[in-house]
Point group: C2
Chain length 276, copies 2
DNA sequence: AGTATCGTTCCATTATTTGGAACTTGATTT
DNA sequence: AAATCAAGTTCCAAATAATGGAACGATACT
């Protein structure tokens, strides 16, 4: 097995392997599997690499890749290596710029950043992952895309656990059934059982901590965001290094984070409210 | 000719209509037309809106949209409006983070930013558009994605004209034949003729200016970037407000910009060189 | 209640995808 | 230089998925 894909395997697992989820999207689904393969790889893949990973007949695979390249979703360099295409950037730039949820939340994220001086994130639950929609950092060296658009596990991030705490018990169990619990640090929940216990607590309290569960030395407080019809579930969080963010300090930020979350929800209700 | 492509044609106009480029990508091509429609719209579209724009039979369109939604490329909100899906962000984040060209160029962009104090861009030519791959800004309020991933016209941006100056005459004419010249400002080239004249000049000099041609009050200097096999054509630029960047000042920055471009090319050669 | 309007489902027809095999191309070995 | 091997590409009858007209629900409007 190709060594550099170990990473891709993990990500795929996190997306649900248990569910034996047959794609019902015909041709598109098959092509998306390929896009996933290429975008998850650590380096551009050669035809043969993809062949062994995708397990398709050569003729078929060749045409599929050609179509993806022709549409700009993949790029084929002079050495026959396939890399993600720049058209993806173009799509993403537009979908980000016009995203309603993000636009409504943005001013409140900035306020929260100013109030605390630390990094603020906005994330939503999609499948079993949290996708970060926005990030507001205090100091200069923000490398854009550094976090935005990234998919992170829901079971070991503040925003993730906050989002999960909003789910009805049944959906929660269903969702967790598909999750592969990777232990990123000593504090990462290793099983659904302990996670469920914490999530019940979070549901009562209305806020979640990440006690260095995803990355050693990084802590956060998060508050959940929801809509009545559960169209969006997500959260806001304040994140920072453990040496600066003691658990006591994080506790003091519970109220500001919740207030920001509340304002974002109010913004969504005003924007979408009349109809629901 | 199929009527439902009228809108897609418009979109293509900016990108090239003259080429009568029938999509050869079967099912995927049809779905990408829909993705284009939705991501280019100013607001989420309802089923009927897309129906009238795409002009497909209802049954067909419905299934196509369902597939896109199921794959996360589109999202359908509670009011039946289709918006770009967050999976696009996930794809883009990865393709950006691992893009070789960008990774090689990054340190040189930062150097250039420090040397001048103004905003630095890295862009590549894709089709008739420049796609910005990176941006390094001096002062704080960088809204990420503000420019990265955006597709801009090639005929009125510094990076665009620099990239065009590298093309052999024939390809250049072909490419410009497909461009729809929109006059953004009084200084925008209104026809291929005047543009061609300037591009010849740029090819001789090895650098390009943007004299408020895309946006009033914004100027830039750009230098071209190429590889022997023409796999990548693009440019680096320094951009800023006209009141601060006199043409004299821009002229002083020609050398630094060219030097940065040269270093990036060298980086690419080292990385890819042995093979070509 | 009556009637548009909007969205969804069905299914025989049609077009696209499939995949095995044959064929290039280019590098490596004898 | 010829032979061998691996990597990629093209072909085409068979299998599969997409198509689109029409019938069917679901809301909103009168």
């Amino acid at each position: 097995m190709l060594p550099f894909l170990s990473r891709a395997d993990e990500t795929m697992d996190a997306n649900g392997e248990g569910m034996a989820q047959a794609r019902e999207t015909g041709t598109l689904g098959k092509l998306m599997v390929l896009l996933d393969l290429v975008t998850h790889a650590d380096a551009p893949l050669r035809f043969t690499d993809i062949l062994s990973l995708a397990g398709q007949p050569r003729g078929t695979l060749h045409r599929q890749l050609s179509h993806l390249v022709e549409e700009g979703l993949l790029e084929l360099d002079g050495d026959g290596r396939y890399a993600p295409g720049l058209r993806l950037l173009d799509f993403a730039a537009r979908s980000w710029a016009r995203n309603e949820f993000r636009l409504i939340a943005e001013p409140h994220l900035v306020d929260l950043q100013h109030a605390t001086g630390e990094t603020v994130h906005l994330g939503v639950l999609r499948g079993q992952s949290i996708i970060y929609l926005d990030k507001v950092e205090g100091r200069q060296p923000v490398r854009m895309y550094s976090q935005i658009g990234n998919a992170s596990p829901c079971y070991c991030t503040g925003v993730g656990k906050a989002a999960l705490s909003l789910l009805p018990a049944e959906s929660l169990v269903d969702l967790l059934a598909g999750v592969n619990f990777t232990r990123f640090t000593a504090a990462t929940h290793a099983s659904p059982a302990s996670l469920l216990a914490e999530i019940r607590e979070i549901a009562d309290q209305g806020y979640a901590f990440d006690r260095e569960e995803h990355e050693a030395g990084i802590r956060c407080v998060a508050a959940p965001i929801w809509s009545e019809d559960r169209t969006f579930l997500g959260g806001v969080s304040i994140t920072g290094p453990a040496y600066r963010l003691s658990m006591e300090l994080l506790a003091q930020w519970v109220v500001p984070v919740q207030r920001a979350a509340g304002r974002i929800m109010e913004g969504m209700r005003i924007r979408l409210g009349p109809r629901r």
